[in-house]
Symmetry: C2
Subunit: 333 residues, 2 copies
């Protein structure tokens, strides 16, 4: 934004990158966001490899998938990580789950039978329920948060597609959320359309909303404009402590903030980049021969237009996947 | 950097991205920086396609290659764009050069016979000489700048590898340069190692040096950490007006700031993204089947270690190009 600002005054930096901020927690959403590419059809071995990698890398949370309604989504069309049944989760983490890696799932507002499908905490290996909501579903999201909180879970909330939401409506949504027991509210760049200054504006807006509540802010980015990592860093500089990333930037469309870049940036010695690089070589380079993800021109175009990556994904899955110019002309119509 | 800063105070944004800063000028260095991948062995048709694309896209400057010494580099090993003889340049731009696209070449300190090989301006289609220098070559660079200036050219200077230079030495170099007639000094992230806060520190340092001289600042980034575009935006926000980019992010190693992203970000209506996308489809997608460039894990590693991409390039050109883990272990030794 604002290429017009002349010599913007910026305060003198206080460099101290030698140290780190221990409050920062990293969440891996490789299987959950990546599952949107292949309808969550991952084999057990792949999911277990990601799980073990997260544990070895010192990642704080791993998101195993969605807790989707079986009335809305069929088992025939989706792999187990669309539903994250307790049995499937336990098959992955075994009898001795890694003690420092918390587990979470995403629960979409209006697409989750949360009263039935989310078990009381003491019956589950899950630690945290991440409620995802569009702005018009906030009342449902608040009810889901309350339900999960009452069942004993940590709770977080992703308000999706905020780049297409009016500011005063977003303020109202945040006001409603701050009255709920939610612990973390995420700034989510669903369309990969945000520039650093917009991230800053949103972080300020969210911070004002949660001021004095003890809640935390999180950031979830997409890489349509090669800004997923940069915008995550920007949020860190602004004091955001909960960071989403995926191994090899895996994720729907242009993908997410790459875990390997993020761990290379964070200075907390508990993080280790090496297991992530190992996992990429073993599991993601072979996968990249079968699935398409990561930055390409069609995703850049949908990001710049602040639009859902739907059309760009369709193009990339078609035999015309590299026909960028026709796609550009169609999107600009 | 500085993940330790807590809730850094940031001034309220003055959003005005609807308008633009007319002083901003974009330079295409596709052929020059990309020539480092293939020893400048581009066919005429390819160079002409880039030239016509730059003109159609409203780009302000195009860098045609190097003005390298024929005593140091042999014609047998390098294509014409290593030397940019006047005849070769004229063969590209024809009798009627695009009136709004200025031409430049890069002249490396100590590797250019500048007294002989850089013609007086009135005998050349070139408008601008870009002197590139390491810190220890500054006296030579200053002499080259003076020579080019006296011959009638615009002049700019890239101080390379500043991420590995001590601050007080950099200050001395800048002081020497500001006494020269150079018009633009570039902040150059040779190793793709800089985070946004380091870009900011450098821009502040450079700005203090040129204050009151009427000189401009420029930015030249590399994409080792997927930060080339983000760091260019950061520089724009800080008031930097001269921006380097390449079509499809083409360039040595991890490549450069992608022109298509940059033009999508800048609001000046003179810029047009469409010819760049067209050129990518026609000329760069086929090239990507033959040459390796752009972000990959080995470049991330060399960037994070603040090292020349030499070893990473060697790996990517070898049959072990995807053996990231062995490379990581070797680099960490």
């Amino acid at each position: 934004m604002s290429p017009i600002k002349k010599h913007a005054k910026v305060e003198e930096p206080k460099n101290s990158w030698i140290t780190y901020r221990p409050e920062i927690k990293v969440l891996d959403c490789t299987i959950r966001d990546g599952g949107l590419i292949n309808d969550h059809q991952f084999g057990d071995e792949f999911v277990r490899a990601v799980y073990d990698t997260c544990a070895a890398a010192g990642v704080d949370y791993m998101e195993m998938g969605y807790k989707a309604s079986k009335r809305v989504f069929s088992r025939a069309d989706h792999g187990p990580w669309k539903f994250c049944d307790e049995d499937d989760l336990r098959r992955m983490v075994g009898d001795q789950p890694h003690p420092d890696l918390k587990l979470c799932v995403m629960a979409d507002a209006e697409r989750t039978d949360y009263h039935e499908d989310i078990l009381p905490k003491e019956q589950s290996v899950l630690n945290c329920i991440r409620v995802a909501t569009y702005i018009h579903q906030i009342p449902t999201a608040v009810d889901m948060i309350q339900d999960a909180h009452d069942k004993g879970y940590e709770t977080t909330c992703n308000i999706m597609a905020v780049s297409a939401v009016r500011e005063h409506e977003l303020r109202e949504a945040l006001a409603a959320l701050t009255k709920s027991p939610v612990e973390v509210i995420y700034v989510v760049d669903s369309y990969g359309s945000l520039y650093s200054e917009q991230v800053r504006d949103l972080v300020h807006l969210y911070r004002r909303a949660i001021e004095g509540t003890g809640k935390e802010l999180g950031i979830h980015t997409h890489n349509n404009q090669q800004l997923a990592f940069a915008n995550t860093i920007e949020a860190v500089i602004l004091g955001v402590n909960r960071l989403d990333a995926t191994i090899n930037g895996f994720g729907r469309g242009a993908g997410n903030c790459p875990m390997e870049l993020l761990l290379g940036f964070l200075r907390n010695p508990k993080f280790d980049q090496r297991p992530v690089i190992e996992c990429i070589v073993k599991n993601f380079l072979p996968l990249a021969k079968k699935l398409d993800w990561g930055y390409s021109i069609p995703y850049m175009i949908s990001g710049q237009l602040n639009r859902h990556p739907r059309e760009a994904m369709e193009l990339r899955e078609s035999h015309r996947k590299d026909d960028y110019l026709a796609f550009y002309d169609r999107m600009m119509e």
